[in-house]
Amino acid sequence: MERQYWIRSKPVYTSLLWHEKATAHLVIAEGDGGMAVLKLLQQKYPTQVVRGFYAKSSDSLKNYADIISSLIPDEFTVFANANDALKSLKNSLAEYHMGTRFYVAGSEAFIWQVAKELYDFGVQDDDIEKELCGTLARSVYCVHCKAITHNVHHNIVNCTGCQRKLFVRDHFSRRLGAYMGLMVDAEQPGDIPTINEVYP
């Protein structure tokens, strides 16, 4: 985390709200993103078609799948895991039309995996509502060896590719779905700052 100045590339996530004007709504959620889905269902329900993909996750606090299924069984399809959901999403996007509004909720890694699928169909980043749920865990791209280390909870991480200790920056690449990781002790090898869990 960098406090000295605000880094504009760091994504800011919002709370999901239905768009009033739409032809259809597509909601894609994973794990604790289920809570964001439930929050949507607490709002005035849209008059247009709603479809949803929900991917179960072993990290979830609650059994969102069951709750969602009990509320709107026809609109949501439940998947055992994120990969299955993403695959099914990819295969169904050709059916959707302009006017469809997109909502994604879950971990940061999941959000950007979904975004990538949507980009392939010409959906632009601003067209996608994103709510970060459950964990601040980061994916970190090592600029030195190019490996991406997932599920990072600390400000400094051992790169899974080259073992260097990387400082986890706030500078974020949407293309990679990862934060920049830079060797923390290049100037003075071994001189590592305090390692803290800042992305629980």
Binding site: H19, K21, A22, T23, A24, Q48, L93, A94, Y96, H97, M98, G99, T100, R101, L118, F121, G122, V123, Q124, D126, D127
Partner: protein, 317 residues
Amino acid sequence: MSHLNVKVAAIEQVTEYVKHFTLVSENGEKLPSFSGGSHVVLALNIKGRIHRNPYSLMSSPLNTENYGVSVRKQELSRGGSVFMHEQIEVGSRFQITYPVNLFSLSKLSHKNILIAGGIGITPFLSQIVDLNRTQTDYELHYAYRSPEHGAFREEIQEMCGDRSHFYVASDGQLIDFNDLLSEQPLGTHVYVCGPEPMVNAMIAAARELGWPEKHIHNEQFTAPQIGESFKVKLAISNIELEVPTDMSMLEAIEEAGVDAPFLCRGGACGRCELEVVACDGSIIHHDNYLTDAEKNSGKKIMPCVSRAKCQNIVVNL
């Protein structure tokens, strides 16, 4: 701003109200390539005063031998189109800007819907060349008043084949925007150019269907409005001048010998924005650039199209 010196190589009467002008470089040099949707601003000397009018480039963007522009004769205008129709002849010379594009095709688009009303067809002709060249999916929907006003219809049919659709109002054919826009695949962008009511109707239909703003594009030049005269003081140059009824504020400033920045001259791009230091009346905004908040603040003005209803307005130029 750099200029190109051109002369008219050919003039063609396309329809009753539309003339097409072919322009070549005065010294026979190649003209710059450009991107589809671009326009140039012609500097026309009308009765001793320079009028600057933007016209879309209709020729192929890859054609460096000549440029083509079309002008529709507008009776209720400040004279630019009338001048083009009645005074410009083959051999006439004037300056034009380099091509400027305020209506470009999105390179991320998977499909493009082009909607033209009347003379609004002009920017699409160069865009179609780019779309054909890059083999991007598109449709052109061209609405016009009656058969004799369908300028360039044949040319379009040749270039677009079955991607082109025509709507002749006198035959009762009208574009149903809701129909047109309701089942387009993801990644489609829509572009519209034509009379204001048509543009507004299309945009309203797209928004109602839930099309995101960034997928909706429109080109709409606002012509400078005719209005009451008013006095302007340029605070930095320390010059006072009067903006007469038939001149825009920007033109009046230029007449006074001051080099003011500008680009589109149609209230769209923001380049000519001036800070208002004082105004003892109100600003009449005619542009499409400032936000409502900015317009209400009274601290900014776009001199290419806007005016003031006052005794005196002071700007930071």
